[in-house]
């Protein structure tokens, strides 16, 4: 009985801590304004970043040279996105409020991926400029 109680409370606490932790990582990207270049490249120039754009954006991120310092957070947000997709799938038809919340969160994940892409493109351009300058 005590073990069952501990199990239920722990799972509930785990979900809350994990969601808050992922949101604390996502919060850093919200202040970042996407450049026109990235909006154009990703095709999100006319509308906001959609929740379903995450995987496509992540594929673009992987095409860019790695900065080396963003891998762990991209992976953590990827896990969070998968968890949200499961929540969206399971609770979508039962509780619309939860579905709407998970949709907003997935959208934040997509925005995070767009910011990561923007940073990697800037990094690539800097690398290129540096190489050109060294050749001269």
């Amino acid at each position: 009985m005590i073990a069952a109680l501990i199990c239920v409370i722990s799972v509930a606490a785990f979900l809350q801590f994990f969601v808050s932790y992922c949101r604390s990582i996502l919060a850093s990207s919200r202040k970042f304004e996407l450049s026109a270049r990235v909006r154009e490249v990703t095709g999100i120039a006319n509308h906001g970043v959609a929740a379903d754009d995450f995987k496509r954006l992540l594929q673009l991120v992987r095409l860019c040279p790695e900065r080396g310092d963003d891998r762990s957070e991209i992976r953590a947000v990827g896990v969070y996105y998968s968890l949200l997709a499961v929540i969206n799938f399971v609770a979508g038809s039962v509780t619309p409020a939860l579905a709407a919340w998970s949709e907003r969160e997935r959208q934040n994940c997509s925005y995070f991926a767009a910011v990561a892409l923007d940073r990697r493109i800037s990094y690539s351009r800097d690398l290129f400029t540096q190489q050109v300058a060294e050749r001269r």
């Binding site: 005590i2 073990a3 069952a4 501990i6 199990c7 409370i9 722990s10 799972v11 606490a13 785990f14 809350q16 801590f17 994990f18 969601v19 808050s20 932790y21 949101r23 604390s24 919060a27 850093s28 919200r30 310092d69 762990s72 957070e73 953590a76 509780t95 409020a97 939860l98 709407a100 919340w101």
Partner: protein
């Protein structure tokens, strides 16, 4: 004997613990985060001890089991010290550190006593049952303490991103591990298959999350806690 996967997990955990320590030394914040660094040092030493214990006595030996459970209980108690420090940081302006220390010590003693009471009737396997029961209860007390701390962080509108992430990572660790222990008590049949892998994986989480925080989050970074609250509109 252990396979490459188990050794891989062990090595990753050990290296991450060392990384947190090296990071603290190079950034000259060893004393500032003394509790975390003491915990990481102890965790790294325990990991080394585990390695030698497995090689000397074997993975299935009773010696290793006792070493594993008792060292884990000691590490959890050290984590309580870390939590106490977080409380002191959050309540720094209220000058209530003496009461926080007293409350933490009381909770610790109460947990040990409660665990003893629960297994009192099973005197034939008192020690082995005691360590599992104590582990479950210690982690659960950790969940409660961290949850209360998180409530205080939200109420007092704490903005230090580093502190917020350190607390949340600890909360994830405590709640996941308490849940795993409780599942082991509820479904002992799952232990050889699924539940055997989860505690070592969770062992990696804390040094991984803390090393991320110390590396990526500057000391002066600020965050609005209202953004972290889960609200369904």
């Amino acid at each position: 004997m252990l396979g490459p996967f188990e050794y891989g997990i062990w090595l990753i955990g050990f290296l991450l613990e060392i990384y947190v320590l090296v990071c603290a030394i190079f950034r000259r914040s060893f004393v500032k985060y003394l509790e975390i660094n003491v915990y990481m040092s102890a965790a790294a030493l325990v990991a080394l001890g585990e390695y030698f214990s497995i090689h000397h006595y074997g993975f299935q030996s009773i010696n290793y089991r006792y070493y594993y459970y008792y060292s884990e209980s000691l590490l959890t108690i050290l984590l309580f010290w870390v939590v106490t420090q977080f409380y002191q940081q959050v309540f720094a302006e209220m000058a209530v550190s003496r009461y926080i220390r007293g409350a933490a010590a009381f909770l610790l003693l109460a947990t040990g006593f409660f665990s003893y009471i629960v297994i009192h009737e099973n005197k034939d396997h008192l020690t082995s049952r005691f360590v599992v029961e104590l582990g479950q209860n210690l982690y659960f007390v950790g969940v409660v303490l961290t949850y209360l701390l998180w409530g205080a962080v939200l109420t007092l509108r704490e903005t230090r991103t580093r502190l917020i992430q350190l607390v949340l990572a600890l909360g994830v660790y405590f709640s996941a591990t308490a849940g795993i222990y409780a599942l082991r008590n509820l479904f002992p049949g799952l232990q050889p298959s699924l539940l055997r892998w989860l505690p070592p994986l969770m062992g990696i989480w804390l040094p991984l999350a803390w090393s991320y925080t110390f590396t990526k989050v500057p000391e002066d970074a600020r965050l609005t806690t209202a953004r972290l609250m889960v609200k369904a509109r």
